[in-house]
């Protein structure tokens, strides 16, 4: 069965991926720290779960979601679909013609971020150390919304062909301004959320989308314009998480003011 062989292959790759990490951990544990790890068998079991789980997860994505998602990304940005079936190909395309592409980018960005294992890990940790004041779902939803907006913006940029730098610089300026006003507790977490959003689930689909779009839009080169979507997907969540923390702070203050007045 091809699915089973696929799992074995992916398992090999995942084990290879984990080996350097284990080497570093074991090396320092044995040579430098020289302390016995508590619950060693549980920890080893945990590592086995992580490696097997990740391998199954990747194989499942490879088998079910990626082929479909990639074909869809290519089809949605295809000129035949843009011009409408049965009609003749449009001579020039306007950016409005790609409405479904932005819509797809938004939805798939949101959906894949919610399923991103690294983000699940960080939000679990955040809820644990904050004693529950930073909720798992609030954080994850705002990160997902950030990625969704980022990808919609990023696809729009590819269609209109504006330079990537301008968008990223504007985003940096926005982050700097927000940092001044956002509550200090959330700043590090917000910065972190930029890095965790783009790993196993989001990157392959997003790369396919960018490449498909840059190939199909007249006048874009896949080499120069296909890149940059991941940059949007890592910058926008920082903005959205900072915004989320500002809004919840503002609400909390208003609530306190109104309840204090009574």
């Amino acid at each position: 069965m091809s699915g089973f062989e696929g799992v074995v292959d992916v398992l090999k790759v995942t084990v290879l991926d984990v080996l350097p990490i284990i080497a570093v951990l074991v090396g320092f544990q044995v040579l430098v720290l020289r302390r016995r790890i508590a619950n060693l068998s549980r920890v080893i079991l945990g590592f086995v779960y992580v490696v097997v789980g990740l391998a199954l997860f990747l194989q499942g994505l490879e088998q079910a979601l990626f082929p479909l998602g990639k074909t869809m990304a290519a089809q949605l940005s295809d000129l035949d679909f843009i011009s409408g079936a049965g009609r003749e190909l449009l001579e020039t395309v306007r950016w409005q013609d790609y409405l479904w592409v932005y819509c797809f980018a938004f939805c798939i960005g949101f959906a894949t971020t919610v399923a991103e294992p690294a983000l699940i890990a960080v939000s679990l940790k955040a809820e644990e150390v904050s004693g529950g004041t930073i909720g798992v779902s609030g954080l994850r939803l705002s990160v997902a919304l950030g990625v969704a907006i980022g990808l919609a913006l990023g696809t729009w940029r590819i269609v209109i062909g504006a330079p990537l730098e301008y968008f990223i610089m504007a985003g940096y300026v926005l982050v700097m301004v927000q940092t001044i006003f956002a509550p200090r507790v959330m700043i590090a977490l917000a910065y972190d959320s930029g890095g965790v959003t783009t790993s196993t689930v989001t990157v392959p689909l997003v790369a396919a989308l960018g490449l498909g779009l840059a190939t199909s839009v007249p006048g874009r080169s896949p080499m120069l314009d296909g890149f940059g979507l991941i940059a949007f997907a890592s910058l926008c969540p920082i903005i959205s998480v900072l915004a989320y923390s500002q809004i919840s702070q503002w609400y909390a203050q208003r609530y306190r003011l109104s309840s204090g007045a009574e």
Binding site: I21, V43, L54, A64
Partner: protein, 245 residues
């Protein structure tokens, strides 16, 4: 044993909820927008089941293995009190996890092709491989450096935003001087370096360190390592592009 089973069932329910949006989006777009049937339904079903079980096992493994080991090692390093070993550990963890990262290998190869097309390097196989290898090493080095600096920051309690905003300014200035072909690759490389296994480990390390050092708040000071690890590769790839041109 029943406890384990209940844990598994609970985690599985969470995974189902996390994965539902993807299935929904793909289904709706395929059936309603593109108006095409779902191809090979059986393969799809098997794949979906694999994804759900895989995510469930991963999340269980986080709680059992990755989080405890990351925190235990952070506590032990803090008790040992040697800054040198802690920094070396941070560097090795960052470098070791990044240099073999499949996503990075793919990005480095693409970057070499882009550079060859742009005439920055010779277009033969050898030159491209050397370029890609150098890029990978510099990114891995930058991530090692990032974790090292991030650990120092937790120990001394520097505010995270000064370092990050300083890094942003560096990126802005370097963008003006870097060859245009490398810019897209550089910005993307920040996002792909942090893998799914590194992130929980590094998060646990930061939080464990911040909670075992007096005067540090685990929320304020514990996070931020991943942010460094996604910023320094941008700077190093831009720098690499400038050096090689």
């Amino acid at each position: 044993m029943t406890g384990q089973l209940r844990f598994f069932a609970q985690t599985m329910l969470g995974s189902l909820r996390d994965l539902a949006p993807i299935f929904l989006v793909i289904g709706v777009f395929q059936l309603l927008v593109l108006k095409q049937p779902l191809p090979n339904g059986f393969e799809l079903l098997i794949g979906a089941i694999l994804v759900i079980i895989g995510l469930t096992l991963f999340v269980m493994g986080l709680e059992l293995g990755l989080f405890p080991i990351g925190e235990a090692m952070a506590h032990d390093f803090a008790r040992k009190g040697s800054l040198f070993w802690l920094m070396l550990f941070g560097f090795c963890l960052g470098f070791g996890t990044t240099v073999a990262e499949p996503a990075l290998i793919a990005v480095a190869r693409e970057a070499a092709t882009v550079a060859a097309d742009g005439g920055l390097i010779a277009s033969d196989e050898m030159a491209q491989q050397r370029y890609a290898g150098g890029l990978r090493l510099s990114v891995a080095f930058s991530v090692g450096l990032a974790i090292m600096v991030g650990v120092l920051r937790i120990v001394f309690g520097w505010p995270v935003h000064y370092l990050i905003i300083g890094g942003y300014l560096g990126v802005v200035i370097m963008t003006r001087f870097a060859p245009p072909e490398i810019i897209g690759v550089a910005y993307d490389s920040g996002g792909v370096t942090t893998s799914t296994i590194t992130v929980p480990l590094v998060a646990a390390l930061g939080v464990g360190l911040a909670s075992s050092i007096k005067g540090r708040n685990p929320v304020v000071d514990g996070f931020g390592l991943i942010a460094f690890a996604s910023l320094t590769p941008i700077i190093f790839v831009l720098g690499y592009g400038m050096l090689m041109s």
